[in-house]
């Protein structure tokens, strides 16, 4: 029974973490932008959905929330990130500043109290005798679907080829007529799209408040670093390792369940000591 609990809860939590990590990995993998405001975009999607859902229907609200976040991501890229793209540390600082700006804006507009976003799928189902929220299963399905769709787009289309070429070798890509700027916009737009989808799928399982982006960012960073920066399957695997480590701690040491994140991060450190490039990443030497 403990095993079933670990298995089911671990898988479900993997879906939630994976959904958050995918967009971040995508933006870095194809645009080489470490966007620390990624989870702030997810937060904006959740708040926009919260604001609109009582005013228009759920589908319209979800669509508008997605539009707002993709537009925000593209504007941020155009105005803040593209001009600074060559200065990685500056990009980090600017994206953190952007996240803090969005945090303060939401605090001003909605206050600090907790809000909630309605679930697309309410209720629960029993899997191997363990109760699982249907919304959590939806997040898991979303994560798998987004991974598949992104993989098909990147590997199976001319657009994907252009984006990959721009990410791998910028000078050569330009020589064959690929617009680096265009590829960057596509990648950031896709990253924004996945952040918005995460807002729709994961936010109903979270406390909606203006600081919610920072704990999520820690999980996302840990997952993508563990999986290998920029690798999409790596991000999902990293998310799964963290999720299972956390669930194991809760089930095996209930009195120490506050240590779940610490233990998960310790697992990350151990993996990185053994494999510094992460599970699916390019080694640092190769990167240079």
């Amino acid at each position: 029974m403990v095993l079933a609990g670990v298995l089911v809860n671990g898988l479900v939590l993997s879906g939630i973490y994976g959904m958050l990590a995918l967009g971040f990995a995508l933006t870095y993998g194809v645009a080489r932008v470490l966007n620390l405001a990624h989870t702030a975009f997810y937060m904006v999607a959740a708040y926009t959905l919260f604001f609109l859902v009582g005013r228009v229907g759920f589908v319209e609200a979800a669509f508008l929330a997605t539009f707002v976040v993709v537009a925000l991501a593209l504007c941020a890229y155009r105005l803040l990130l593209e001009p600074l793209k060559q200065h990685e540390s500056t990009v980090l600082i600017v994206t953190i500043a952007l996240a803090l700006l969005l945090q303060e804006l939401l605090l001003l507009l909605f206050g600090g109290q907790f809000r909630s976003v309605p679930a697309l799928l309410p209720g629960f189902v029993e899997v191997l005798g363990v109760r699982v929220a249907q919304q959590a299963l939806l997040a898991l399905g979303f994560a798998a679907g987004v991974l598949l769709a992104t993989w098909l787009l990147i590997k199976g289309t001319r657009l994907g080829l252009r984006i990959r070429a721009a990410a791998q070798e910028q000078e050569a890509a330009e020589l064959v007529g690929i617009s680096l700027s265009g590829a960057g916009y596509w990648a950031v737009g896709l990253g924004g799209l996945t952040a918005a989808l995460a807002g729709l799928a994961v936010a109903p399982l979270a406390n909606l408040e203006p600081h919610m982006w920072s704990p999520s960012l820690l999980v996302v960073l840990a997952a993508v670093v563990l999986g290998g920066l920029g690798s999409l399957p790596g991000a999902l695997l990293g998310a799964s390792v963290l999720a299972f480590a956390e669930v194991l701690v809760v089930n095996l040491v209930p009195g120490g369940s506050f240590l779940r994140t610490t233990v998960a991060l310790l697992v990350m450190v151990i993996v990185l000591l053994l494999k510094p490039e992460g599970l699916f990443g390019t080694s640092f030497v190769e990167e240079r």
């Binding site: 609990g5 109290q113 907790f114 909630s116 369940s257």
Partner: protein, 428 residues
């Protein structure tokens, strides 16, 4: 009168007006419900006191002037300490009221002690706020008085009494002779020392204890946002009651997932998030049937002053007051009462008057002990137990609380209601 005469008269008039104002700094995280309600509570009290002619000292009438001090304490403790210092030095505050987050209140009271400013706290339950300070270094910390809530050890005592009520309900309604209890206690300093004695009381046979079985203790982080794994583990352990001690955001995560997964265990204890009128909105209406200790409820007259306060508050601010509102409202009246009795603004005289306070406010009868904590128990402040039922906050404790030969209860309390899925799961 020439122009110089007019000018001199104006200066004299304005200095005289300044001298007849008592400036009170109202401290809190103003972007948050807790801080906002601190301000609202102070505002109501100040307006009432001023309307009634202010505070008479030495035959002079003093008006209360509130200064809103946003401490940002939810995010930064240093910000809170700096805000208090700025209020004292730059805004020339006479007295301080408020504060919410214990870590920040500890820092803010240090600043108040440094500047010898009387500080009535209305948000923190940490035992160490007064114990080890007022008793061991009275000269430095005599300026601190805790009005609301009462200290954490009294909170535990109250929540255990409420747990006893729920255990009794399980026995009577579901015929469970030895209910199984899971402890879900966030990892904060205040709760660490209480787990072992609480477990002992729960499992000890009556009359010393409740004769229940403790199936486990889960200690999530206070800032946990997902308690699904803990809850499914508690369900697997066969718990019929979850005794919660949650003061951080984990409280909302608990209510939401407990309701979503319909965990077949009744819940009782402390859940600070569930004390707020926004609880159901925060949990997507999944927090129905969650119960928690509280200090004010919309429909219970703890004293004759409670309902008028709640009505005025709701009319004016369109929200259900939380304990920072009622505590701050009472604190301002307690301060006004002490000032009148001291007939002075001088700190030592006011402290002496505060120490002999015996005041009936909206939250109960306030009498300070030697630690400057309010006395807990029948006849003083007791707190209440509330449960969310059908979208409303309903009071279930104290109903027939037996203390010696005395039965304690407030009119309008209703029995604790077991969630339907708990009844369905354990009906025998």
């Amino acid at each position: 009168m020439n122009k110089w005469g007019v000018l001199v008269s104006l200066v004299l008039l304005s200095s005289s007006a300044w001298a007849q104002t008592i400036r009170i700094g109202v401290l809190g995280p103003m972007a948050y419900l807790q801080g906002r309600h601190t301000w609202y509570g102070a505002t109501l009290a100040a307006e009432e006191i001023n309307r009634a002619g202010g505070i008479q000292l030495n035959r002079r009438s003093y008006r209360i002037e509130l200064v809103r001090v946003d401490t940002n304490e939810m995010v930064s403790v240093p910000d809170a300490a700096t805000a208090v210092e700025r209020a004292i030095v730059a805004q020339r505050i006479d007295f301080l009221i408020g504060g919410f987050r214990s870590e920040a209140v500890l820092a803010m009271t240090e600043v108040a002690a440094e500047y010898r400013k009387i500080f009535l706290t209305t948000g923190s339950a940490a035992v160490g706020l007064t114990a080890g300070r007022v008793d061991q270094n009275y000269g430095r910390y005599k300026y601190i008085f805790r009005v609301s809530p009462y200290k954490a050890t009294d909170i535990i005592q109250t929540t255990l009494l409420q747990l006893g009520e729920v255990i009794q309900t399980l026995r009577q309604q579901l015929n469970i002779p030895q209910p199984k209890v899971a402890l879900l206690v966030e990892r904060v300093l205040a709760w660490d020392p209480v787990i072992e004695p609480a477990s002992r009381i729960i499992s000890a046979p009556p009359p010393q204890g409740y004769g229940a079985e403790v199936v486990g203790v889960w200690r999530p982080s206070a800032v946990a946002t997902d308690l699904t794994s803990e809850l499914t583990a508690i369900q697997r352990a066969g718990a019929q009651v979850i005794f919660t001690l949650l003061s951080g955001p984990a409280g909302t995560a608990f209510g939401r997932e407990w309701g979503r997964l319909k965990i077949p265990a009744a819940t009782v204890g402390a859940n600070v998030d569930a004390q707020q009128g926004t609880w159901l909105e925060a949990t997507s209406n999944l927090g129905n049937y969650v119960a928690t200790i509280n200090f004010i409820a919309p429909d219970i007259a703890i004293t004759p002053k409670t309902i008028p306060f709640v009505v005025n508050f709701r009319t004016r601010f369109r929200e259900i007051p939380i304990y920072t509102a009622s505590g701050t409202y009472d604190a301002l009246y307690i301060l006004a009462d002490a000032l009148k009795r001291a007939n002075s603004l001088e700190a030592d005289a006011v402290i002496e008057a505060l120490e002999t306070t015996d005041y009936v406010g909206v939250g109960g009868r306030y009498v300070f002990d030697k630690l400057h904590d309010v006395k807990w128990g029948p006849g003083y402040v007791t707190g209440i137990g509330v449960q969310w039922v059908d979208g409303r906050m309903v009071t279930f404790w104290p109903r027939n609380w037996r203390v010696g030969n005395q039965l304690v209860g407030y009119a309008g309390t209703r029995p604790y209601q077991l969630p339907p899925w708990v009844v369905e799961a354990w009906r025998r």
